[in-house]
């Protein structure tokens, strides 16, 4: 069989090298898990032995109980669903509108020259400072929260995607023109496809930014959502709710990031 021959041809040094690599990877994973489990165990122990006050620090078992209880009465799922929907709407809209704006600015360099200083200033401005204004304008509702999430990600998307568009090799654009291609074809055949990695990267960054916008929005106006649960829990001193929400947020953010990383891998099979 060919594969047996293949295995035989691997030298001793190579096998040792591969084993070392495998061991190292194994050690990294083990320590990561030990740290995670150890953290929660220490937290639990500290609370049980009254080294910390579980009333203000909460404790893993209390969080778990709170989670099970809220899961049973369904309120936990409503909160998660609300935040998830707002975040997804925020980063999808932010990426979409940002990319469309970047296309517009690429198309018309005069407009982009005019817009440049405004983009720079808006980019450095903390967008959450605009949240109260948005709420006054759009009302005490979910639309405002999505708008805040969108605002946090849209400007940085415009800037990074436009930058990607402008960095496309001029000779590749010339290639399209040589065949008599129009500006729309330059965009469709070269500039846009060359920047799909850049847009997917923007999408990844926007997941995090959109969460910031949603949580701030929920702090201000919401009646449900994890941000609401955090604020409400801290006001009524239900730290179990607060800590639980933070942990769920961390898990959601990680899952979404992984989802986009997966999408990236699917879309970019032409890369080495």
């Amino acid at each position: 069989m060919w594969y047996k021959k293949e295995i035989k041809s691997v030298s001793k040094e190579q096998t040792a090298f591969l084993n070392r690599l495998r061991k190292r990877k194994h050690a990294v994973h083990t320590i990561q898990w030990v740290l995670l489990v150890g953290f929660f165990l220490l937290w639990e122990t500290a609370a049980r032995f009254d080294w910390i006050d579980p009333f203000i620090f909460s404790q893993p078992t209390r969080m778990l109980n709170a989670g099970i209880q809220m899961g049973k009465d369904g309120s936990l799922w409503t909160h998660i669903g609300t935040t998830l929907w707002e975040t997804v709407a925020g980063f999808v809209l932010g990426t979409l509108i940002g990319t469309l704006t970047a296309i517009l600015l690429w198309w018309n360099r005069f407009v982009s020259n005019v817009a440049e200083p405004y983009l720079v200033v808006l980019n450095s401005l903390p967008k959450t400072a605009l949240a109260p204004i948005i709420i006054v304008w759009l009302g005490n509702n979910q639309t405002s929260i999505i708008a805040v999430a969108l605002l946090t990600s849209v400007i940085v998307t415009v800037m990074s995607v436009l930058n990607g568009f402008l960095q496309v090799d001029n000779e590749k654009i010339k290639l399209i023109q040589i065949f008599g291609g129009t500006k729309a074809q330059v965009l469709k055949k070269v500039v846009f496809p060359a920047n799909i990695p850049c847009i997917l990267n923007a999408l990844k960054i926007n997941v995090g930014l959109s969460f910031v916008g949603v949580i701030v929005g929920e702090f201000l106006v919401a009646q449900s959502g994890l941000g609401f649960l955090i604020v409400y829990g801290s006001q009524v001193f239900k730290l179990d709710w607060v800590m639980l929400s933070v942990i769920i947020l961390a898990i959601l953010a990680a899952l979404m990031y992984q989802g986009i990383a997966f999408l990236e891998k699917k879309c970019l099979k032409w890369q080495q």
């Binding site: 290639l175 023109q177 040589i178 060359a194 890369q271």
Partner: protein, 248 residues
């Protein structure tokens, strides 16, 4: 016979913030159908500008340019689009010109098969060697069935070994397909080995300094064999002197 390409008293000026540059001055040049013309000149003398004008990418400031045929243009690098397969890269020109007919697609498939890329049609550019990529670029150019090929130092991105074999290959393909070709190069040997005529340009502003008719005695034509012809060295020395290259 009416020339297929002619430049009459063509001048070109570039404008920038720092002022005006005369890149090409009063150039006259005629190319006959089926001819392989090489243009050599000191670097930065405006050789590429001449090709850009012929391709209609920039307009001359003065003078007349007439081109009687479809132009195919090969750039300095292959510029294959990384996200397209080899087949789709080769079809790019047809796609842009809305000529994706079954016959044209079959023609491209045939060219790919014929020039050793048949097994790589569904591969991506990063999986191919430099020489193969250059061949794909040539097929992409040939796909639109141009009668005139413009070659802008198309081998300059390759290492010397690959460059020799690719220029041999591509030169042979162009002869075989019976195309008119205009090659811009700074490599004197390459220019002589491929061409029927070599045009030597002056430093900027580019003007025709001298034209050499190349007659090499070889049994069978191939650019690599051409380098072994007894006359090769004489042409090389003459053009080298004409170019007046100063080694600093």
């Amino acid at each position: 016979m009416r020339p297929i390409v002619s430049l009459e008293d063509v001048s070109l000026r570039y404008h920038s913030i720092n002022g005006e540059t005369l890149a090409v001055s009063d150039m006259c040049l005629f190319v006959q159908e089926g001819e392989f013309l090489s243009i050599v000149g000191p670097s930065g003398c405006g050789k590429s500008s001449i090709l850009s004008m012929l391709a209609g990418l920039i307009a001359p400031s003065e003078g007349n340019i007439s081109v009687n045929g479809e132009i195919g243009y090969m750039l300095q690098k292959d510029y294959l689009l990384e996200w397209r397969t080899i087949r789709n890269n080769a079809l790019l020109g047809l796609e842009i010109q809305n000529k994706l007919t079954p016959q044209n697609i079959a023609y491209v498939e045939e060219l790919l098969d014929q020039y050793g890329l048949g097994d790589f049609k569904d591969h991506y550019p990063y999986q191919l060697s430099g020489g193969m990529r250059q061949r794909v670029a040539l097929i992409r150019t040939l796909a639109i069935r141009p009668s005139i090929l413009l070659l802008d130092e198309p081998f300059s991105a390759l290492d010397y070994q690959t460059r020799l074999s690719v220029s041999d290959e591509i030169g042979t393909i162009i002869r075989k397909e019976g195309k008119t070709a205009i090659l811009v190069s700074h490599d004197i040997s390459e220019a002589i080995s491929l061409a029927d005529r070599v045009v030597v340009l002056s430093a900027r502003p580019a003007q025709v300094k001298r034209i050499y008719d190349i007659h090499l005695t070889t049994d069978e034509y191939s650019p690599i064999k051409a380098r072994e012809a007894p006359e090769f060295r004489e042409y090389f020395n003459a053009i080298w002197k004409e170019l007046d290259v100063h080694v600093v």
